[in-house]
Symmetry: C2
């Protein structure tokens, strides 16, 4: 088989570029770091960089959390109200990353939220997450929910998630992230109930 070999190498090159980029971004800031410099540190040419990541922003934006989130939503009891399933899955999924990698998550999220260019890309990137929520809301037990209703609820869940992340970063990670997620979802229940 050939794929194994190549896929492995590809994955390693990809990781090397991503690490080099994150280091440089944290050292000098996103805007002050050129793609050429990242490529240099990763030991590749700037063209190779763009073959792995379509834009400079994507090096930071691509997190692979969606599959895990989807799994966590699926594993929730079927009877639960959809929004609750999403809420719990988000809280517990984030808790996993939080426990394993708190500091890295904090640094990356701070970078993401404090750099205008990256913030903008964030929402673009989370279109995937929104559709994931829509599937959870409009799936099997979508009792008469209109598409608009499904989308509005999914967008609100995403808003809660991002709000929690923002508050977490602004408090410098003092409060436990999962608690903030809970608070954000509670806020929507209280305000829209």
């Amino acid at each position: 088989m050939s794929g194994d070999w190549r896929a492995d190498k590809r994955a390693r090159t990809r990781a090397r570029i991503q690490e080099a980029a994150l280091e440089l971004f944290l050292e000098q800031g996103f805007d002050a770091t050129t793609v050429a410099r990242i490529a240099e540190r990763a030991g590749v040419s700037h063209m190779t960089f763009f073959r792995y990541f379509p834009t400079k922003e994507d090096v930071v934006l691509q997190d692979g959390y969606d599959p895990m989130l989807e799994e966590m939503i699926r594993s929730r009891p079927a009877g639960e109200p959809p929004v609750t399933r999403i809420r719990t899955a988000v809280r517990d999924g984030l808790a996993l990353v939080y426990d394993a990698d708190r500091d890295a998550l904090l640094a990356r999220t701070r970078l993401l939220l404090s750099t205008p260019g990256l913030r903008a890309g964030l929402w673009e990137n989370q279109e995937g997450t929104q559709r994931l929520f829509e599937r959870a809301l409009g799936g099997p037990d979508a009792d008469g929910r209109s598409p608009l209703r499904v989308r509005a609820a999914a967008a609100a869940c995403l808003a809660a998630l991002v709000t929690a992340l923002t508050a977490w970063v602004e408090g410098d990670g003092a409060e436990p992230l999962p608690d903030l997620v809970d608070e954000a979802f509670d806020a929507l229940r209280a305000e829209f109930g």
Copy 2:
């Protein structure tokens, strides 16, 4: 006084650039239109373009709706629940633009939502709108609402607004926009109640 004369001329130049840009964007698409071409049609140099708009995206993104929205929120009865005030203000404010300028609003919104670069900038731009909602929620009668709760609710309102706009564009403007805003807010009440 000097300012009057100058301010007028500035405003006219600004409007000329914005019109030229919108025309070209609708004719050829956002990406296919260069700043140089916009400047040419507006009769200015490309440097002048950037003196009026910091980025190419800002020509489309800058709508001046926030002051009107703020006024409409303020003019709501004080006893009303904050989310209802926002909801009504958004619906009625949008209805004003809708009645006066439906086709232009549709074209501009479609352009905004269908161009990746502009979509990304949308959220960045609406940070102002979100803070406006936060003022409405956390203002005088913020009975024990935590900052996080205020922000989560404001973000959800914004999500409802954008969801309604998206649905409106996707349906090619068939449904009246104000109705969609109502539906989106109803969805949140139903889903989070």
